[in-house]
Assembly symmetry: C2
Homo-oligomer: 412 residues x 2
C-alpha cells in the first residue's frame, strides 16, 4: 500500500529507538496505555513505521524547555504512514505529520524538514493550475523573471491613490504588482473599490502597450468573500489573486483553489512563528509542499540580503525546493517570489545561486527609490537580470546600463 513520509530532526534524552517508536505510535495506532483493540492486524494496516533513524550525535543542552532530562542526542528520523490513514487529504496529512508531537515529553527539539508523497497522492491533489507556465502566459513575460513590486505604504492608501501608483508603475514598465498582506478589505481601501479603481488603469495600459500587468489582489478572508472577490477580479480582467497562507489555512487555500480561474499568489506571513527556532516547527521545503499540493501558484521565499534575519542559503534552498518536481507525473512547481529589500544588485547573486529565470523578483525601494525614478528602477532590474543571465558580471553590466549604474551608486 502506498505510504507518505515525513522527515524530522529530533532531539531527545530517551534512547533514539524508544523516542522514535513513541512518536510513531502517538501519530498512528499507538496509545499511552495499551488498549485491547490495538491488535497486530490493526497495527499492520494503520501504524506509522520508522523508515530511518540516524544518530547525529550528542548535544549539550535541549533546544526546548520541559522535556525529559538526561544526556541528549540529535537524530534524523523518517516516519511513514499508509495513505489509507488520511486519504488524499492535505488537512489530515498535516494533523498526522505535525499534530500532537512537538510537545511530547520525549521531545527536546523537533523539526519537520521534508515530506514525500507517492505519485498517486500527488496526482490526486489540487496542485497549481497555472504555476510557472501559466503565469508566463498571462503576464507575457518569457525567459526572464517577472519584475514586480508591492504597493507601499502597505496600508493607508485609498483605492484612488493605489490606482494612481499602479498607473505610474505601469508606465515604468513593471510586470507584476501586489497588495501588501496587510491590505485586504479595510475601510480606507475596500477590496471592491480597489479592484474597480486599479483595473481600468491596467486595462488602459494594456490597450496602449499590449501588456497586461499582473496585479495580485489580496482577497484573504472568509470562503464566500474570497470567491466573490475572485469573481470580481476575473470580471474586471485581472490575472492574479493573493491570499495569506497562515490566515486561510490549508482548507481555505483549497477552497480558493477549487473555485479559482486565476493564479493564486500565496503569501507566507507568519512564517517566522513556524520556523524561526531551528529546532522547532518546519523547514520551508516541508511546509511549502503542502501549499503546492493545495494549489498555490506563487510562493514567497524572502530575498538575498533581506531585512529579516534569514540567511541567504536558506532563501535559496527555499526557492530551489519550489522548483523541484514533486513527482514525475506531476511536478507542481511554483514560482518563487523574492522580496524584501531587493534591488538590482541582488539579481546577480540570485541568478548565480539559482540559475533559473522562473521567479518573481519584487523590489520596493529598488524601484521607487531609484535616483532617476521608477522607470529607471524597473530598467535597472531588467538590465541586471538580462546581464546576469548573459553571463556578465555586475561590473561589466553597468558599462551598458545607465539605470544600473545609478542603482549601483545609490544602493551599492
Amino acid at each position: 500500500m502506498a505510504r507518505f513520509e515525513a522527515e524530522y530532526v529530533l532531539e531527545t534524552a530517551w534512547t533514539l529507538e524508544k523516542a522514535a517508536a513513541v512518536i510513531a505510535g502517538e501519530q498512528s495506532s499507538g496509545t499511552f496505555r495499551p488498549v485491547p483493540g490495538e491488535t497486530e492486524e490493526l497495527k499492520a494496516r494503520s501504524a506509522a513505521r520508522v523508515e530511518a533513524l540516524e544518530d547525529l550525535g550528542p548535544i549539550t543542552s535541549p533546544s526546548l524547555p520541559g522535556a525529559a532530562a538526561g544526556p541528549l542526542r540529535r537524530a534524523r528520523l523518517v516516519l511513514s504512514w499508509p495513505v489509507a490513514n488520511t486519504g488524499i487529504s492535505l488537512p489530515n496529512v498535516l494533523a498526522t505529520v505535525a499534530g500532537n508531537l512537538f510537545e511530547l515529553n520525549c521531545v527536546a527539539g523537533l523539526r519537520l524538514v521534508d515530506l514525500r508523497f507517492p505519485a498517486e497522492f500527488v496526482a490526486g491533489c489540487a496542485r497549481p493550475a497555472f504555476g510557472i507556465e501559466g503565469t508566463r502566459a498571462l503576464s507575457g513575460v518569457v525567459g526572464r523573471p517577472l519584475i514586480g513590486t508591492i504597493i507601499k505604504p502597505s496600508i493607508g492608501l485609498s483605492a484612488e491613490e493605489t490606482a494612481a501608483m499602479v498607473d505610474m508603475l505601469c508606465a515604468a514598465g513593471i510586470d507584476f504588482i501586489k497588495d501588501d498582506e496587510l491590505q485586504a478589505d479595510g475601510a480606507v481601501c475596500p477590496f471592491e473599490d480597489r479592484v474597480r479603481a486599479v483595473m481600468p488603469v491596467i486595462r488602459a495600459h494594456a490597450e496602449r502597450s499590449g501588456k497586461t500587468v499582473m496585479y495580485a489582489f489580496n482577497l484573504t478572508g472568509e470562503v464566500d468573500e474570497m470567491r466573490a472577490r475572485h469573481d470580481l477580479v476575473l470580471r474586471e480582467g485581472g490575472t492574479c489573486v493573493m491570499a495569506s497562507a497562515n490566515s486561510v489555512g490549508l482548507t481555505g487555500l483549497l477552497a480558493l483553489r477549487r473555485h479559482a480561474q486565476l493564479p493564486i499568489h500565496l503569501h507566507r506571513n507568519g512564517w517566522g512563528y513556524l520556523s524561526r527556532h531551528p529546532a522547532l516547527g518546519f523547514d520551508y521545503a516541508a511546509w511549502s509542499k503542502l501549499c503546492r499540493l493545495a494549489g498555490a501558484d506563487h510562493m514567497h521565499v524572502n530575498g538575498l540580503r533581506n531585512k529579516f534575519c534569514e540567511a541567504d542559503e536558506s532563501v535559496i534552498a527555499s526557492a530551489r525546493s519550489l522548483l523541484a518536481p514533486l513527482s514525475e507525473g506531476a511536478a507542481a512547481t511554483v514560482m518563487p517570489v523574492f522580496a524584501s529589500g531587493q534591488t538590482a544588485l541582488q539579481a546577480f547573486d540570485t541568478w548565480a545561486a539559482l540559475r533559473r529565470p522562473d521567479l518573481i523578483f519584487a523590489a520596493g525601494g529598488g524601484i521607487m527609490g531609484h535616483p532617476d525614478g521608477p522607470a529607471a528602477g524597473v530598467r535597472s532590474l531588467r538590465d541586471a537580470w538580462d546581464s546576469a543571465m548573459a553571463g556578465l558580471t555586475l561590473e561589466e553590466a553597468v558599462r551598458d546600463s545607465v539605470a544600473l549604474k545609478a542603482a549601483l551608486r545609490s544602493y551599492g
Copy 2:
C-alpha cells in the same frame, strides 16, 4: 475610532523604543525605506500605535538565532491598530498581529501573549453558536463536567469496531465521545461509514436511557467535505462535529461555523509548533481568542499531569482564559476540554484550580483501563467530580465510592 490591541513579550538588542517603532511600522503603514506616500495624514488613519512599552530588564542571551547583536533586553509591548485596517476579519487580523514580524532583524524573541478587541468587533464576529449552555442543552449534562473519552486506538478501527466501542461506552454511562484527530476519512474507517455505524448505537441508547451521548465526529477536510459531513451527522441525529484548528485554518473554521447547526469541537493538534518555545509564537490566551471569535464551542487545553511537557499552571491558565468573557455584550466563552492521561485523580486538582464545572473531562485509560471495567471508570470520574465539587478531599471521597477507591489503587 475603535482599535484592537496585541500584547507581546519582545527580546531585542535595539533600544526598546526603536524596536517597537519598527514592529509597529512593519505591521502597518511604515516602510523599510521611506516612500513619498507615507504622509502624516495616512499615518494618522492607518498606523499601528505603541500603547505600552515596559522594560522587563536585561537578558543574557537571545532566545532565537539570527537577530541583531548587542546587549539584550526583554519588554512587554502593546500595539494597537484601527479596526479600519482589517475590518471585522479574523484572517486579516491574524496577518496583522502575527504576520511578518517574528523574523524581523531586531527581534531576538517575540511572543504574542494576548489580544483585545473592542465590543463592536466582538459583536461582529461569528462567535460560538452553542458554547457552554448549548453543549449542556444538547448533552443533558447540567452542573458538572461532561465525562468524555476518545476512541482508541486513534486510527485503525473499522466503522463497526468503532460502533461496538461506542456501544460499550454508552452502556458505561459516558457523556461525550470524540474521534481522535488522526481519524477523519481514511480508507479503513470512512467518515460516512463511521457516522452510519455509530449513530444507530447512540440513538438506540438514547431511546433506552433518554440520554443522547454527544459524539464529536472529526470532519476535518475541505470546505465542501466538511459541509456534507456536518449535514450527514445532523441528519443522523448527531450533536457535535470536530475539526483540527491548524489544518482548517481560520478561514476553514469560519466556513464550518457559517454552515454548522451543531457545536464545533475544535482540536488544537500542532499547538506545540506554535507555542513550545517560550520566546516564540503564541500564548494560548491570544491564539484561542481568534478561534473563539471564529466560532469554536469546545477547545482543547491539555490536562493536569499530562503526558506532554506542558506545566499544570499553563493548562489551568488556558482553561481560565477560555472561560473569561471577551466583552460585556458577547462573552464567547467556550468549553475547555481536558485530556491526556486524565483519571479520577486529576479531577480534584482540576476543580481546586478552576472552581468551575464547565468543561469536558476526557479520559482514555482512566475509563477503559479501570480495573473493574469502563462503567466503573466512568463512575470513578463522576464520583471524583461530585466529591470535589462538594468540597470533599480525595481521601474522604474514596470512602463512599468503590469505583474511586479502585481507581486510586490502580492509578494512584
